[in-house]
């Protein structure tokens, strides 16, 4: 169950799969070319479905570092979300 997998706060499976891809790219120039040419296909083959059609792989060099800024997520708040209640109960304790 997904909840149990992330109880400790880390979705390690994503990191582990990416590490396997990094290792394969370091070990094999042909794999690296395949990754750069068809990143979605390689990620999917490794069980990392990116969920989008456009994926770019950038290789760091001795003079260039790439940082990824995650997309801004949506706000969440109790005062808005409680209006979606589908139960027939009141909160008591």
């Amino acid at each position: 169950m997904a909840d149990e997998e992330t109880t400790e706060g880390v979705d390690k499976s994503v990191i582990d799969k990416w590490m396997q891809i990094v290792r394969a790219a370091w070990e094999s120039d042909s794999f690296k070319k395949m990754l750069l040419d068809n990143p979605v296909g390689v990620l999917q083959a490794a069980g990392m479905d990116p969920g989008v059609a456009n994926v770019q792989i950038h290789e760091d060099t001795a003079t260039t570092r790439h940082f990824v800024l995650p997309a801004k997520p949506g706000d969440v708040g109790v005062d808005e979300a409680h209006q979606s209640l589908m139960s027939d109960a009141n909160p008591g304790f």
Partner: protein
């Protein structure tokens, strides 16, 4: 900033002013990693709010809204109130004992104080039901949402793990109670007979009752805990909120079905069906 994984690949992220629901997709996303560092009441409060909000939204998926409130349906909600409040003191006493045994005196003191605060709240629900014309035996009915909540509460209080889930449970239900403002109380009053006082339990568990200070007390306590425990409590808040917001598997009972259920405990002079 504080964050916590809440299952399904989602992470709630909080600052003093905002809460976000984030789905880390990139392996280099910093929110794949566990939260570190101390909490503050401002960010911890937002973190727990975001987790509760995410749980409410997730639990409601595929559900159906309950029918409009009537006096009969309010009695049904009071049956749920009874189950939630009746179970509380004993489970909090057990929670205090276990925190104490684990060498966590501050958490034990919190549970002990809360057990005292919450004692006899079930009598408020019974008095409200009585005023609506129902004998106490009506509380033998199984209110599915309340039963699911109490089962979760009991498992957290009596399970093998440190009962941090009890803190999450208490905070979630008390935080949700704050969504019930004076207008919500008036909406209930409007379906009851003129002059009815069958809102005593509601008033206590609302933004005009004691739950206001309880929520800030809970947040101050959680903010002092290590990051891993704050994250575990956030995850538990999401689960409790999910249970609370979901439509029961058997669906919602309509007023006719509720009236039939209530009949053995309905006094003839009550006469207050909506």
């Amino acid at each position: 900033m504080e964050w916590a994984a809440i299952g399904g690949g989602a992470v709630v992220v909080a600052t003093e002013a905002r809460g976000w629901l984030h789905h880390p997709a990139n392996p280099m996303d910093p929110f794949h990693f566990p939260m570190k560092g101390p909490g503050t009441p401002a960010t911890t409060g937002r973190l727990l709010d975001a987790a509760i909000a995410a749980g409410l939204t997730a639990g409601a998926v595929g559900g159906t809204p309950p029918p409009p409130l009537t006096a009969t349906r309010w009695a049904w909600r009071l049956v749920g109130y009874y189950h939630l409040t009746h179970s509380t003191p004993a489970l909090l006493v057990e929670t205090a004992r276990r925190f104490d045994a684990a060498g966590r005196p501050a958490l034990a003191a919190w549970a002990t104080e809360k057990a005292a605060d919450e004692t006899a709240h079930d009598r408020l629900a019974l008095r409200d039901l009585d005023e609506l014309g129902y004998d106490a035996g009506v509380t033998s009915l199984r209110h599915p949402t309340a039963v699911a909540m109490v089962d979760w509460f009991r498992a957290a209080a009596e399970g093998d793990a440190l009962p941090l889930g009890v803190i999450a449970y208490a905070h979630t239900v008390e935080r949700l109670a704050l969504t019930l403002d004076a207008a919500a109380v008036d909406a209930v009053r409007a379906v009851l007979p003129p002059g009815s006082r069958a809102i005593r339990c509601l008033r206590v568990h609302s933004a005009i009752g004691s739950d206001v200070s309880h929520v800030s007390d809970n947040i101050r306590l959680v903010a002092t805990l290590p990051a891993a425990e704050r994250a575990a409590i956030a995850l538990a808040c999401r689960r409790v909120a999910g249970l609370f917001s979901r439509t029961p598997d058997e669906g919602h009972l309509d007023d006719a079905a509720l009236a039939a259920l209530f009949r053995p405990w309905r006094r003839s002079h009550g006469g207050q069906d909506g």
